[in-house]
Amino acid sequence: MPERDLDVAEMPSLTPVSTMEPVDLVRADGGVPLTGKKARQGKLGVIGWLSISWLALVTLAAILAPILPIDDPNQVTASIARQPPGTDGHIFGGDGLGRDLFSRIIWGGRSSLLIGTLSVLLGLVLGGLLGLVAGYFRGRADGVLTGGFDVLLSFPQLILALTLVTVFASGEGVTATRRTVVLILALGVVSIPVLGRITRANTLTWTQREFVLAARALGAKQREIMFREVLPNVLPAMFSIALLGVAVVIVAEGGLSLLGVGTQLPRPSWGNIIAEGRSELRDSPHIVIIPTIIIFLTVFALNYLGDVVRARFDVRESAL
């Protein structure tokens, strides 16, 4: 009998390699996403494609704003002040100062999307990293980092952002771009502790799982375990919270605009359009309603796609 080296794949599994039979693996066609049956298989489905096209539309419009055939967002014309949507040539009508609401919303997209995504990214990267370290190493590292989170968190977010903007981006010689950069940093700093603490909480539960102990037993370095073993498990939760964070930040910028420290006017953002339009709620509510719908569609699409993506990675099936 020729000596055959054992091909591991052919070894009958006397002891279970994994508790799931292949059929389970096959059946485990995805967690339970937001969508209906089809998306349960991680497919996009109608709403998925709608979300993608909406996000593409909004982002493209924001990027191409300078070359799009739309009015100058800051052009004041008395005749269209507070005109309802659909007046000739102005699809969304005019805002309180007689500027074309449609172009202001497109240009507003630039600031809002930028601020929304970058500050949450900052929070995700820094906050996530610190949270991971705090949750994994515990002990003194955890104490120090949680202390740091507490310091930032005990400062009411809106007031912290207001102070940072007033100190670094108001007064003489402040350009709108600098104000937007400081806003991104301020809102980023504000979201670091939130994402940090959530990541820490998730990491805590995962580090108790056997496979982490097993990896450690196999002599893997701490850093490897953290990034290769724990992070992939914590990432889905962080990812969906980050997407939620984008929505919260875009709306928070509105609050800041109300306090006068949002995107520097006359540069528009969805937040400051709503802030400026709030006193016109009684007779021309469209100035507030339309940007709100735009924000709603964008954040809904973002979180919806987030779910579908997550459904692809999450392998287990609900048992209930």
Binding site: M1, L6, E10, M11, P12, P16, P22, V23, D29, K37
Partner: protein, 373 residues
């Protein structure tokens, strides 16, 4: 050991006698799963019967559908599952029952013991609560009586200091201990049928024997029917009345345990028997291996599903799927054109040996079937 006091259960004692010893009858059960890549035919036409007080062993490699079968019978399937075929339990057609009616069977008529004790118990709920819960749901015992029953159950599964255990959490117990609790939970309402889905796979060997003895003991006392699911022939060999061997979603051989080991007909069963290490072998004996992999369950091969890996394979095997046919001893069915131990079988093997078929050579070198222990 005191028998757990008869509980006041929805189904009166009369139901049992009237349906005689036949407890469970499954006819042409098919469970398919809707997945992105198509319909997975996990259980593809299975028919079995089980009498009260008897144990049926379900054996097969990982992915042969044995777990899915037991869950399908109980109805514990996710929403992507699509189940057909009839399931009759104590004279009642389960497959026609709505979710509420079916639920009244769970725990009281049939219950399940899962494989991994580490994850089968709710990590944040006290052991006591997890046992008394099913009593609360199904019976009208008050807290005190429920607590007494729980203590009795813990003692019946040989857990030391039951009072203290009630207040403890799962992570404070060892693997073996936890599996005992899982069994206690499963037996709380005195089910007539117990599915044990690889109950000992996650445990070390010494504890395995204790748990299996415990299961047998409980079965005898409660005159319970048990379906013991395992991939390990050794576990099934000594503890079951009948054995059904599953392969790729179908039963390929079924017989009383002793007959199966003595008069094996299905080449797959023979290969399984040969791959079990035996005490009398020298320590370095190479283990016999079944080459190849189980077939893809989305579009299984036309003929016999074991053909690709069968030493006895002939052209017919690849073309036509053999039906389950009766062997000499009654109750012994198998699904093969050139069964082991028959002339046709021998000739087929010679032909393959001559033709230098790889899996044929491997089959010859191993010892023959293991003795029923």
């Amino acid at each position: 050991m005191i028998r757990s006091r008869r509980r006041h259960v929805v189904h009166t004692a009369a139901d049992y006698h009237q349906s005689g010893s036949r407890l469970l009858e499954v006819d042409d059960l098919k469970t398919h799963f809707v997945t992105p890549r198509g319909r997975v035919r996990a259980v593809d036409g299975v028919s079995i019967t089980l009498d009260r007080g008897r144990t049926l062993g379900l054996v097969g490699e990982s992915g042969c559908g044995k777990s899915v079968l037991s869950r399908s019978i109980m109805g514990l399937l996710p929403s992507t599952a699509d189940r057909t075929g009839s399931i009759t339990f104590a004279g009642e057609r389960l497959d026609e029952l709505g979710p509420e009616a079916l639920r009244s069977y769970w725990g009281t008529q049939m219950s399940m013991v899962f494989q991994d004790p580490m994850t089968s118990l709710n990590p944040v709920m006290k052991i006591g609560r997890q046992i008394t819960e099913s009593l609360e749901v199904h019976t009208d015992l008050d807290r005190g009586q429920a607590r007494e029953t729980a203590l009795a159950l813990l003692r019946s599964v040989h857990i030391p200091e039951p009072e203290r255990r009630l207040k403890q959490y799962p992570h404070e117990l060892s693997g073996g201990m936890r599996q005992r609790v899982v069994i206690a939970v499963a037996l709380a309402c005195g089910p007539q049928l117990l599915f044990a889905d690889e109950p000992t796979t996650a445990l070390d060997v010494t504890v395995q024997a204790q748990i299996l003895d415990l299961l047998n003991e409980q079965q005898r006392e409660r005159h319970m029917a048990v379906v013991l699911v395992s991939h390990d022939l050794g576990v099934v060999a000594g503890r079951t009345h009948d054995i059904a061997v599953m392969y790729a979603g179908q039963i390929v051989e079924q017989a009383p345990t002793r007959t199966l080991f003595a008069e094996v007909r299905m080449p797959y069963t023979e290969a399984l028997l040969r791959s079990v290490p035996r005490l009398e072998n020298a320590s370095h004996t190479r283990l016999a291996v079944i080459g190849g992999r189980p077939p893809d369950l989305i579009d299984p091969p036309k003929g016999c599903r074991f053909a690709a890996r069968c030493p006895y394979v002939q052209d017919r095997c690849r073309e036509e799927q053999p039906p389950l046919i009766e062997a000499e001893t009654p109750g012994h069915l198998f699904r093969c054109w050139y069964p082991v131990g028959t002339d046709a079988g021998k000739e087929a093997l010679e032909r393959n040996l001559a033709a230098e078929l790889p899996q044929a050579a491997a089959a010859v070198t191993g010892e023959l079937a293991v003795e029923a222990s």
